[in-house]
Symmetry: C2
Subunit: 300 residues, 2 copies
């Protein structure tokens, strides 16, 4: 979500053709036999201007006729799939069943939505972010959407991540990038699931490009989502410092919020530069300003 | 279609629990990876009072949001699948992928739609009705819906019918029936595809029950659909007599329209009794009257 909002600014600062986005697939799952890729879809829908901005997911002006009838067939939907949204999942699932890779399908979706960015799933292999909680182990979407982040989390498990190979061009695009920006997303589950794919974290360490992250935590809290909660569960300080610490093996610069200026010296002490700015993105101008800052910093 | 309309009357004459319907699966096909069973669905939707009666297919008050977006993904839909309708196909496809049989899935749909009839697909195995035409060989739905029955047909091919086994209970239900009614459907493709499944035609010959058919042809024409056209292509006279002739190895009685009284002696000459009645079903009363006549005749 934060990533998609940040990218809305980025595409207004850098030509789409120069942007390669590596997307999290740990949130992928199946509903009614359809392969759903929530993180990839939020990026494409947002950049295509199709997202329901009020809800923050799905298609604008979508209806839920299919989902309503699915209840007649005994399903108890807790992950809302709108009728228009379903078209994406039908298209993706049909192509996957025909043997296409998720990268390949994602490229088709990007192109069909008239986008020119390169969107790479972190991996074409199946991997899922599960949380070990007091109520048992569950898929991240179940924790997030069905259980509304209530169960206390003790551990994050990236199921299949060890066997998952980075999708084609992921490593190459990191190594050969002019600059790398880590979007303001959940460090533990969203960015974490990308870093869990073998070779990605080390590519970030190896790349000659500067790596700049935007902190998703402002004054110890996330704007939306359970990042702060999950950082605490993982014994990571829920602060911009915690973010810096979590990324410290590959990060050059962390953009922190003006409210977190006080953390600059602690961040510097672990060898990371910090820049304070307004990181809350309310308007398109906010998004552009933040993207411009990140871009100028990777070129620094 | 004619079958579904007839069955609307039948369920008002005979308790649903006493009715077993053997449905055509030759029209089944896949769209967007979903298994669509048009003939089974028209029966369930009609009996559940959910059918769009104006269009004669699909759900009442359905929307087409998903289909509209599928066009963005490069599909050129010619078979309309509404958003609510999609729920049936998602449910069916998911269960089939999980290894359930079509019979099994169909029974679930029937039950979920609060129906109490037994609806048996003629076969759980894949078979498809194809037409050999001047424009090449094509699936019946393509001929019917996409090509609007324009191409001249030279031959009907029931692909896979020779290998298709009758679904569980199909043969038994014919052999043990109190009476068998062949609905007023297309004799060549709808009833024809059922008869093409090995063992079904011979069960109709063997059953001790009386077999009563309702002619779908009135004064040489079908009420709707290409039955007359296809009968001619197959060198079957497009008349109630042609219907009797096509079914003559298993049929006891043919209910013909009052307009076709003149054919009674020709029908009798091939050993089949005919009864003239009003066979055009405009109102629910028409349907009930016709169903009552067919039922009284099987008990005769």
């Amino acid at each position: 979500m934060g990533a998609a909002r940040f990218l809305e600014g980025l595409v207004r600062v850098v030509p789409q053709k120069k942007i390669t986005i590596v997307g999290n697939v740990g949130d992928d799952t199946e509903f009614y036999g359809l392969h759903v890729s929530p993180d990839l879809d939020i990026v494409t829908y947002t950049l295509a201007g199709l997202v329901d901005t009020a809800k923050g997911w799905g298609f604008r002006d979508d209806t839920f006729q299919c989902q309503q009838l699915l209840q007649t067939y005994g399903y108890r939907p807790w992950f809302n799939l709108g009728d228009r949204d379903l078209a994406t999942h039908l298209f993706r699932t049909e192509l996957l069943h025909k043997g296409k890779s998720l990268s390949n399908v994602t490229a088709s979706i990007v192109s069909r939505l008239s986008l020119h960015v390169t969107l790479l799933p972190a991996s074409d292999d199946q991997m899922q972010t599960h949380l070990v909680t007091r109520s048992g182990q569950m898929h991240f979407q179940e924790y997030m959407v069905k259980r509304k982040t209530h169960p206390q989390v003790s551990r994050v498990v990236f199921k299949g991540a060890k066997e998952a190979r980075p999708a084609p061009n992921v490593i190459k695009s990191i190594l050969n990038a002019e600059g790398v920006i880590v979007c303001p997303s959940n460090p533990i589950v969203s960015i974490g699931a990308i870093l869990a794919v073998k070779g990605i974290r080390s590519a970030l360490r190896k790349t000659k490009a500067r790596v700049v992250a935007v902190s998703p935590i402002i004054a110890g809290k996330t704007v939306k989502g359970p990042a702060d909660k999950l950082m605490k569960s993982m014994n990571v300080e829920a602060s911009a410092f915690g973010v810096a610490y979590y990324y410290k093996d590959f990060l050059d610069t962390l953009i922190i919020d003006n409210e977190d200026r006080g953390l600059a010296s602690r961040i510097q002490a672990i060898g990371i530069k910090s820049i304070a700015a307004q990181t809350l993105m309310k308007t398109v101008s906010d998004k552009i300003r933040l993207a411009r800052l990140a871009v100028s910093e990777v070129h620094n």
